[in-house]
Symmetry: C3
Subunit: 380 residues, 3 copies
């Protein structure tokens, strides 16, 4: 039942761990990191990597601070500090050192229900009121917090962290060092239906009109599963549907934010970043290192190439090549979308221009008529 | 604790069940279906209903395959096969025969908490750590997987499947053969508030300006419920709010995908298809067989007529008649939206044209002025 | 285990409680409220505050009704009624009197797992299969329904209602009279990552092109928490991420609908109204009494001023001053967005106009050429 505070580290140690420049007294002991204004004592390292935080250093309780390159002067008045090159990376490393992981107890909580045929690593932690189904496997040092469900035949790798209320359905495969946030669902059924006769959607696609009705809807069951690669992170309330016949795959290192929908049969590459409220339809393929910003929607059977970025709030209706930035609704190369917004902004002026031209033409026509009339034999 | 594989079926049986044409040896035994490349043995029926799958038949381990009409030639080299007319419908039927349903055990798991006043059918299955409230009723052959909550006075029909972590609040009514995916919520309270004095929203509606403030916000409690018709499916993480006074209704056969919001007091017809990430505000009425594609938003008190389709990512701010295809933001008849996008694409050219015309007019004006000057008595 | 019906109240009592005008027999006893068509007996107060409900009064079983100001004539035929000034406010008050709150039992359910170091108020109600972590505190009269998780060191105030399956992570602070709907998550980790070297997103921001790849992704752990003010309401399936170092804050009285994402480090003011499917990125600041309509997306580090309203489906990419109405994608002052939509609607006509002008100019040019040719010495 440990929320064990990280052990104290000297400033010298920290500078070494971060590859940062040490300034002042390297023997200062640090037990945590905080914004300068929120440091609770001298043993906190104040993070002052932006201008407003730097100002707050004047009144901090911390004895030491981290500042960005070129800003070492801000450390004056403190016992010591470190100068970091890439502040967010330094933040990541500091929060790895001084992490405050979710509290969990070793072993299997007596209230958890573990099927006798399941395999749980002896050093795994299974929290209160978890359910682990038949033939499931829970890897070494993996922690399930409270009220997690692991389905039948599902395998969870080593060093995973599955937060409260997360569900992993039957027959899924979760890699090592995977994090699943609270109430996420891995392995819901795919949304897959067919009408016995031609239905309204097919009719609309073929003729642009509704000439058929969905009088009956037949379910296509999902017998596939979900496979999550190593180091994947799945956000809170995010839903990943299982494949119809085979797997829905999420590649190694891909991070997915909260309330994201990943449809059935999708193949998501490695190291993708998928922000909150994104909706990915069925059978979508994302390459490696694709970034989808918040609220993006992707239509079914679309491919998005390696390293491409889709701007927030966009609707992707056609496939995107690698290394491109797309956006808008429907999404197009972002430069075209931006040009579109600029042109749209000019519309009122265009309309005024158009009306002005019309008047000038009318005037010209009058004049020409008059001058034509004035000349004998002039054309009308 | 059965994940019982489906019993083997002969190819002849399968052809008969599907109304498909049999090719070759009808005695081939089939125990499952798979993509040709993923078939694990001769007793798998390879599904080769599209071109790429057809190519994979050359190297499949399967002894038999299903192909689309007119493609029977692709079965050469196999022991047998079936030729199907409507491949997705055949897929649905095959996955009904060879389904791999969620693993569940008969009876009430000892860790489940069933209120003594609840009624559970003897052949229902109540999974580990479920909670069934006072006076609730669970119908025949209905399965609750792990950690499901059923509220007080709520009735779940026969042959339902309620996945892990799904919540059905108090006083709701769920029909027969309903499927509720993991972590879905039926019967959350409606989002319904009022300000004692006129607030900012009313002011904005009346005057187009913010002339009042929401200094206090009073809650309108929800004492209604949710009623789900037979064969409804509710997606993972989908939220259906209860009515204020009466029911929020979802009609028979309607299928809702993941992460969908259905607001309080809505009436959704039968056989609707509602894709992922859709948001339906309060008091919306959907007719029968309405399709909302992914990410659609519908404003409150809107009606959408029977058989109409709303295109992905659209925002519906006005009611839609039956049998129409609408789309865009704000949504309008889809043809108008498409014409809008086409016109918008022409904007840069329009702007260039406009500037070219302006130059030609200026040139004309100069000429006319010159020619006018040249003539005695010419008008200026 | 009480779903105790509210005690009967006389019409006189009700009129007094609502500050409404009494009509007819004030001794009529009322036990509940309903739409006139759904009133189950004479002891129901029929709510007839709009035209269609008023018509249904002719056939209601209710003996009394509530009508809007100026509509007292509609009470003819009933034993009595009340005339209310602000119908929705009257509805709120009536549903406070005749509420049907979720059923819960006093005390701690034996199946709940309460860490010995947690503090639970003696009059709190902890439902079946709840988990309350080490050093957590549950306030007076607070009710946790079924299968709720409360993390280590987390404090829940007095008179709160936490619905089934809601999760509040470690170290969070929840005020008094807070309502958390089913399967909501308070305190998931923030979505915060950094690439050791410059990545694709930074490259895109700096150059408009993808000139770097996210070859490694490093996690920034979240050691902050979430702080919810008094009277906050969090919708079903809504996700609030914890701060990186400090708190994500939601101010007193703010109401959030279902399936909303609130990113890490956000500061949301008091009395805000945030509708369903809204996505708020990290480090966003909302003032007091801000309204975000359904499906709005807000980019990171944006501020929205007090009392401002953002129209449904909009994407906010720049900060919004107080007391303004914004909308569209990207959001701009709503009047400009509306003008944009009007102009876009005129595009087809503009195009036709442009083509007509071009023809008239060509005609003019021809004429001028002809007339110029006709005159000796005319300029070409």
């Amino acid at each position: 039942m440990t929320a064990a505070a990280a052990p104290a580290r000297s400033l010298t140690d920290i500078a070494t761990a971060l590859g940062a420049q040490l300034v002042g007294d390297g023997s200062v002991l640090v037990r945590g990191v905080a914004h300068p204004a929120m440091a609770e004592g001298a043993d906190t390292l104040a993070l002052a990597v932006d201008e407003s935080a730097e100002k707050a250093l004047a009144r901090t309780k911390a004895a030491a601070a981290a500042v960005a390159e070129g800003r070492a002067a801000a450390l004056a008045g403190l016992k010591g500090g470190i100068v970091v090159k890439r502040p967010r990376l330094a933040l990541a490393k500091l929060l790895e050192i001084f992490d405050r992981p979710p509290v969990s107890a070793p072993g299997v909580h007596p209230s958890a229900v573990i099927d006798p045929s399941a395999t749980v690593a002896p050093d795994a932690s299974i929290g209160p009121l978890c359910s682990v189904g038949p033939r499931a496997r829970i890897g070494a040092r993996t922690r399930l917090l409270a009220q997690v469900s692991i389905g039948a035949g599902t395998s969870i790798g080593d060093d995973c962290l599955v937060h409260s209320g997360a569900r992993v359905g039957d027959h899924c495969m979760v890699g090592n060092r995977v994090i699943i946030q609270p109430n996420a669902v891995i392995g819901a059924d795919g949304f897959s239906f067919v009408t016995p006769e031609k239905g309204s959607i097919e009719s609309a696609r073929e003729t642009g009109r509704i000439e058929a009705q969905n009088l009956a809807i037949v379910r296509i069951n999902s017998i596939g599963n979900v496979v999550l690669g190593d180091e994947v992170e799945i956000g809170a309330g995010t839903m990943v549907a299982r494949g119809t016949l085979g797997p829905t795959r999420i590649g190694r290192g891909t991070k997915i934010d909260n309330l994201v929908q990943v449809g059935h049969n999708c193949t998501i590459g490695s190291n993708c970043l998928i922000a909150g409220n994104v909706g990915i339809s069925g059978s979508v393929t994302l390459g490696d290192r694709v970034t989808l910003a918040g609220g993006v929607g992707v239509a079914d059977h679309i491919s998005i190439g390696d390293d491409s970025i889709v701007v927030a709030g966009s609707g992707v209706w056609q496939s995107i090549p690698p290394r491109e930035i797309w956006g808008g609704y429907p999404a197009q190369p972002w430069k075209d979308s931006q040009s579109f917004y600029l042109h749209v902004k000019r519309l009122p002026r265009m309309l005024r221009d158009l009306m002005a031209l019309r008047e000038r033409i009318a005037e010209l026509e009058k004049k020409l008529l008059a001058s034509g009339d004035a000349r004998p034999g002039g054309r009308k």
